[in-house]
Amino acid sequence: MSQSHKFIIIAAAALLLSQTFLFSAGKAENPRHLKLATTTSTDNSGLLDVILPVFEKNTGIKVDVIAVGTGKAIALGENGDVDIIMVHARAQEEKFVNQGFGVDRHDLMHNDFVILGPESDPAEIKGLKDAAKAFRRISGSKSSFISRADNSGTNIKEKFLWEEAGISPSGIWYKEAGQGMGAVITMADDMDAYTLSDRGTYLSMKDKTDLRILVEGDKRLFNPYGIIAVNPEKHKGINFKDAEKLIGFLTSPEGQRIIKNYKKDGEQLFYPDLIE
């Protein structure tokens, strides 16, 4: 066989191989895909890895989880790039539904935010029950604070708390990271800074950080998660039927029980809204 023949055969084989790859990749195992945009904190908590396989087994629907910040998750829903969103920023969620992008907002579960900081606690906020007061002390003492600054649910909550404190934070003590929760906790740990985190992400990283929970329990630190199906009338090809099924499952007693029983290192991360 001549070289050029060999070359053509090898080239054809490579092309064929890549096509099979492409095809198998494109087809995946299951033709029914439901695209769920959710927050990194939800995804990082590991809850979805426990609850979604049950749903997938029951229904044969494969849920594709796209973990982004709340702001981007809502934007993906508005663009019709996902079928369903699970986020934690109630005001934005209501706006999303009112503008017709989402169908109904369903309460799903909640946990709470906590203010994290170094053990040395230079702003002396440990034990405060008033989150706004804690923020005032942080800014007053110009102690380093790391903000997510990514329009995530946590970031939205943080901005709300600064407003409550009557402060618009600026200065070198206030650092806008533009990163996910895990990265921000790592940064705050390295810089002995304060930050706001959802309890779930903090718990999942507890053994990797020296930061402590300094403030918790303020009602304003409540962190409710909602789930919303994207309106199929806004965009073509939205998998509304399966989105409804997922909402049905997650809000069913079975789904809610899984949320309730989900623990990491013995600690409960989320509290279901629909069962005690």
Binding site: L17, S18, A25, I66, N79, I185, M205, T209
Partner: protein
């Protein structure tokens, strides 16, 4: 530091199911994209090296500047074409392997085309004349032109592969880092880093290097027999 290598080794040796899946996904996407980008780049490289025409310089300058395009920009660009309301939105490509492969082809095409062009233009100028005078034309002529520069063409291909297998912007943005579906080594590294799992992330980085090294060695060994 030591523990990172132990962890990487452990992940490889124990054949962790998810790590294997992620690694094979990365490899699958990168191989598909490299092959397809090469298929597109070869004709352009041949055309540029064989003929002179108006606008040739412009194409080369354009290709060279595209090489520097950040992966997130490519991601955004492709996103703006395949998002639901975009021209190709109804294909439902976003957050599927197809989207990643499209982005990666765009990522690798300029580098492969431009390097193939320089590989082919560095040839002995008497080669095309020799082919002509020996009555070799058509497809066979092009195949021989490529074969005579096979080592350099292979390097072009491997540069493209290298850029693809190591990119994170396109895969993250267009693939969505979906577990058991579009999660690749690099998106996993980004994810694990964000979760503070630096050791696991580094271990995956080592696996990436091993894959890259293996592919390079295998191809360079293989080319000698072609």
């Amino acid at each position: 530091m030591n523990s990172v290598f132990v962890k990487a080794l452990e992940l490889i040796v124990t054949g962790d199911k998810e790590v294997l899946f992620i690694a094979s996904t990365s490899l699958r996407f990168a191989v598909s994209s490299t092959v397809l980008a090469t298929v597109l780049a070869l004709p352009l490289g041949l055309l540029l090296s064989l003929s002179s025409f108006r606008g040739k310089k412009l194409i080369i300058v354009f290709l060279n500047s595209l090489m520097a395009l950040p992966t997130v920009v490519i991601g955004l660009l492709v996103y703006s074409f395949i998002s639901k309301n975009a021209p190709f939105g109804n294909l439902g490509l976003l957050f599927t392997p197809g989207a990643i492969i499209i982005g990666q082809i765009i990522l690798a095409f300029p580098i492969i085309a431009s390097l193939i062009y320089s590989a082919l233009s560095n040839r002995d100028p008497s080669l095309p004349e020799t082919l002509d005078t020996l009555g070799i034309r058509g497809i066979r002529k092009y195949v021989i032109l490529i074969l005579e520069a096979k080592t350099a063409v292979l390097s072009a291909l491997l540069s493209g592969f290298g850029r693809i297998i190591g990119e994170v912007g396109v895969s993250m943005m267009l693939g969505g880092n979906i577990r058991w579906y579009t999660r690749t080594i690099t998106t996993t590294i980004a994810l694990e880093t964000s979760k503070g799992n630096f050791e696991l992330a580094l271990a995956l980085g080592i696996i990436l290097i091993v894959i890259s090294l293996t592919i390079n060695v295998l191809l360079h060994m293989g080319i000698r027999d072609v």
